[in-house]
Point group: C2
Chain length 334, copies 2
């Protein structure tokens, strides 16, 4: 399935726009186009991809036309094969064909992965690409959680590759040298967890990576490590649990502050002090997750992405492309 | 390993005290003894278990003396076999021997499970006991998460039993008839997840249980179901992730409110409105998790349990014992 990839020189990528799936996400196309416009205004070249009649006003941005759209409900594996002229598949082709330096989509995650994998190909020796999702760490660089949901079933060898790729990504994106790696388990002891975790623990000790040891669910938001490695099932459950808990508390706080004039005034007093934390925890400010292990840069943004989230994702996509993240990731597993 | 169990008549249990491991937990023995004293003051018979010289002042409560203590760091499997005169093992024996209606410990979770399993035995047909942990649901009954950490590796047949036992427990503890069952996965579709999840999904459809379908991590605190079924690895990661996220936000809020006099005043204004939520989310108010599938009632309290948490755990233990929860759970899997 994976084709041989030859990486483009970074200097060549610098001249290319970021391809943006105009039809992906709950607020597409309006929020996507607005976010792309803001990125363009900040000096980043972008090109939209989508059916002209559905995208509507492009706000002056270039549009690569196509005829199909993969919806959130479409079966990922099937849709990327049958909808070959969809905005997702065409965006991935622009990266493959050297017409874009990176792609960004807030659409169907499985189909985004499938399009990127089929069109950009897998890096040599990569068993499976994974999702590296940034988890905010107030006052520090985000923690990279990998795999955040691409592979429900994993082998120890896959998890070791996730660790290598996520470490390279952490260095490329956040400048962290020798990132500390944690393995998600249900206790700090090497003897705790599933056979998958125990075997991966042993293998990680031999990699030469900066392996910290096991970490637990409670460490996600207060992490002693820079990278958390896990299978895509556990990673996805943990990430959504964390997001759900944060959203829940924010909702409670919003309700309480909105109770009456007195509580509103109290909320206004606290707001300037809370804002730095809210900003740090805001998924829209984080810039999306990256697919690790492909022959090009693909950024997956939240389905609920706002224009701001898309602008950030575009910016991150370009930085990773011209920063040579793909070469770094390729080198990490050779 | 499991012995045949014969359940005691509920009327007999009503006359028995709750056995409390005086040496279990980060704040043992002082918080444990104080919590037991408060339960006794509320009219619940309790008996402490522990080495007299370590327990110290029992505040007038009866003490079953023993000579050993299993620490948090002790290997669970080994310690329950070698430390036969430990407070944990002796507490489980009191239940087995009809001298206590239930046991409560905030100590080493693995050793608590081991002691209870070895001494009380497994209910007939139970493949594996599991931990049923209550997750607070503000404004409603708590959601029972099973397995919250007893079995890192599970089969579909085990998960189906967890669903049955947790449903019986949910009815016994919270009075919910025909509890709605959710299966923790990474998407609502039956086709999402690991082979374990997919096969369990199929089996749950045939059980006659009130099976809702798959739920996701984000549903833990905002749940459409009364019971969430998962393997003990995923359940433990999800529970700790949720607790970590809540603790993190509470910490941020506390810091912000403590900034200066103005923010303290604002905090005082919001406090009465926040308290109901904080109370609902307070693990100390929840009363601990129950081991499901044993021949007696064993309540596992948080390692960080306060006196209040222990009082609640004792109260829950007694209620479950005299409410016939063990018979209900036994009946659920026959």
């Amino acid at each position: 399935m994976a084709r041989a990839v030859s990486l483009r020189p970074v200097g060549e990528l610098e001249l290319l726009p970021v391809a943006v799936d105009a039809m992906g996400g709950d607020h597409a196309p309006s929020a996507i186009v607005a976010g792309a416009r803001a990125a363009a205004d900040a000096g980043i070249a972008v090109v939209l991809v989508g059916p002209p009649e559905l995208v509507g006003d492009t706000l002056g941005l270039p549009l690569v036309p196509c005829t199909e759209v993969i919806s959130m409900d479409d079966d990922p594996a099937q849709s990327v094969r049958t909808k070959k002229d969809s905005s997702l598949v065409r965006a991935a082709e622009l990266v493959r064909d050297g017409q874009a330096c990176a792609m960004v989509s807030a659409g169907n995650t499985g189909a985004t992965m499938g399009s990127a994998l089929l069109r950009m190909g897998r890096l040599p020796s990569v068993l499976r690409p994974c999702i590296g999702a940034p988890i905010p760490r107030p006052g520090g660089t985000p923690v990279v959680l990998a795999d955040a949901g691409a592979n429900a079933e994993c082998t120890p060898q896959m998890l070791v590759q996730f660790a290598r790729m996520a470490a390279a990504y952490c260095t490329a994106r956040y400048g962290v040298e020798q990132p500390k790696i944690g393995l998600l388990s249900i206790g700090e002891e090497a003897t705790k967890g599933t056979p998958l975790v125990k075997e991966t623990h042993e293998l990680l000790l031999e990699t030469g990576l900066n392996f910290f040891g096991n970490v637990e669910g409670r460490d996600l938001l207060n992490s002693p490590v820079d990278v958390i490695v896990t299978d895509g099932f556990t990673g996805n459950v943990a990430l959504k649990t964390m997001e759900g808990a944060l959203k829940f508390v924010m909702g409670v706080l919003g309700d309480v502050i909105g109770t009456d004039d007195e509580t509103k005034a109290a909320g206004m007093t606290l707001l300037p002090h809370l804002l730095p934390f809210v900003g740090d925890l805001d998924p829209d400010a984080i810039g999306g997750a990256m697919l690790l292990g492909l022959g090009g840069v693909c950024i997956i943004s939240h389905g609920s992405s706002s224009a701001k989230a898309i602008t950030n994702a575009i910016s991150v996509g370009r930085e990773l492309a011209i920063g040579g993240s793909t070469s770094r990731i390729a080198a990490s597993i050779l």
